[in-house]
């Protein structure tokens, strides 16, 4: 039984980690916690749904269009709203992203209704791949973990081994200096939003088969992903991934042994307690303002 619990934790943790990474990419770039992340993933998932069911595409082209849409949506958020803010405070960005979240939520509800829809992926939840004793792993479980790990690797390579990643790092650390060296920091920020939106879209596609596709499907994954990112330290990619898996584990273990109803509450309480002792998250660096 404990093995099955660990497997469910890893599956849930993969999704939290993906959402956390999506939040972390933009947060690293701009210190903006993007509350619209979940809804951006949700709308992107609807694009997959429409491509699959209305246009009869096969999965890979549908995925391609979804990612393209997600990227453009991210760039749009940065270009149309974030960039326009004058003398912004951290709170103004929170409100802007919450505003965008509400817009997307309303739009999806208006366009597709509140009905719960089924998203059919090439890997299904009902097909069992491994069955050993009382441990079951479905196709979807395996695909979720595999895709998540693939994404994490991809993000790591992108941020650490490419010219784009270097430019992103440079503009995070010193915007002025990056500009002097010929980096368009605004364009870099827009691209960061685009990439993070793509990561969120993948998370959305993986979530949808588990809890059906509807406009509020990403609320829980967003909060958990955000919590995972905060737990790990917001700006540390490795920390965020570890935070995601930890959150999955805490939640599932607690849910099984004590109370399923309180499982998210307890997860959050544990996070608050950890933050009390490590205010910058487990892997975040403490920053002291100089006077």
């Amino acid at each position: 039984m404990i093995l099955q619990l660990i497997i469910s934790s890893i599956v849930a943790g993969s999704i939290y980690a993906l959402m956390g990474l999506a939040m972390s990419i933009t947060y690293k770039a701009s210190e903006i916690p993007n509350f619209a992340q979940g809804e951006m993933g949700m709308v992107s998932t609807y694009i997959t749904f429409v491509a699959l069911s209305s246009f009869g595409m096969s999965f890979l082209p549908a995925l391609f269009f979804t990612l393209l849409f997600a990227f453009l949506l991210g760039v749009f958020l940065e270009f149309a709203f974030i960039r326009r803010a004058k003398n912004p405070t951290p709170l103004s960005f929170i409100i802007i992203t919450i505003g965008f979240q509400l817009m997307l939520y309303g739009f999806a509800g208006w366009k597709w209704g509140a009905d719960q829809r089924r998203l059919d992926l090439p890997f299904s939840e009902t097909k069992t791949i491994i069955q050993a004793g009382d441990v079951t792993i479905s196709e979807l479980n395996l695909a979720t973990v595999a895709i998540a790990i693939l994404m994490m690797g991809g993000i790591y390579l992108l941020l650490n081994k490419t010219k784009l990643g270097l430019a992103m790092k440079a503009s995070q650390q010193n915007e002025k200096a990056a500009q002097i060296n010929g980096i368009s920091t605004k364009r870099i920020l827009a691209i960061s939003f685009g990439i993070s939106s793509m990561v969120g879209a993948i998370a959305g596609i993986l979530v949808a088969p588990i809890i059906t596709l509807d406009p509020s499907m990403m609320w829980d994954p967003l909060l958990k992903g955000f919590a995972a990112a905060v737990l790990g330290g917001m700006k540390s990619l490795v920390g965020v991934v570890i935070g995601g898996f930890m959150l999955g584990l805490i939640e599932n273990i607690f849910g099984f042994y004590i109370s399923i109803e309180f499982k998210s509450v307890v997860a959050f309480v544990i996070i608050v307690v950890i933050l009390y002792f490590k205010p910058e998250g487990l892997f975040g660096k403490h920053y002291v303002r100089k006077v």
Partner: protein
Amino acid sequence: MRLKLKQDYFEDIELFEDRVPIFWSVVLLGFLFALPFFVKSYYLTILMLMSVNAIVALGLNLLVGNTGQISLGHAGFVAIGAYTAVLLTKAGAPFIVSFAAAGVVAALFGILLGVPSLKLEGPYLAIATLAFGLAVTVIIGRMDFLGGRMGVSVPKLSLKWTGLKYDTSLYYLIIIITILLTIFTRNFVKSRIGRAFQAIRDSDIAASSIGINLTKYKLLSFGLSATYAGLAGALWAFYLGFISPTNFNFILSIMFLATIVVGGLGFVGGSIMGAVVMTFLNIQLENITDVPILGSLIEKFSEAFMMHSAISNVSWVFTGLILILIVLFEPMGLYGIWLRVKLYWKTWPF
């Protein structure tokens, strides 16, 4: 420009700077008190809702606008206040006791939440307060003596002695409490404690260097802000007549935050304006298709491209858009617009 030369220091802290605002305040008060004799009780319920939202906004603005902290869990305090009041009223406590208790219990929870929040900033504080808001509703949902997830009906107050209709008496009660709290808040902001809050917002390092105890004042800010929410929660419960945990969800917390941003962060007048406008807007947006011109345009668009039966969702789109536009173009909110209009008229025609 009408320049008023101040003659002593008291004039700097007076409630009204000269006779004009006194006149308008009296007119407004008269209007509010005469209203029940002229309009249907539907309009009274709207005003009650505005007032309750205004009380939460006043408190939240002290925390967010004045002290520079953030709370994504204020609905939790409202819930605590509401359930405390219901529990005590059911046990036979008079209104004044259950009302005060709602504030006190919420304040205790506010201070409790404030303790871990002392060290947290930005997204870390956001997630901690958000967690609190979620936890409150889940826990209340589990308590059977509070009605659990199904909710609980709120006993009516004994307001017969007023000799008025129940709705009308409740209206007067809520309006009077709101006015008193508004005046208190305005005094508070101008006092040493209010100034200390703003000092923490602008520079916590400088604030501590001039002798402000950060721990004490941040906890006070959390506690006070929660008190307002708790008091508003009690009034809200009596106004609704029936409450359940879903009344106090995450979206409500977001709406409170939106209210003060739209109204104007750090301004008492902003809290009131925000509450009035956002409440009004929420009601209007629910019937957006009735708005001339725009309504029919939206309807046509909806029929052509969207799922027409789900057209009510358009209110979310507009709420979101309004939030973004306010932040982008009027960071001081409606109160900022009001200040500019006032200045314009003062200096008119120059």
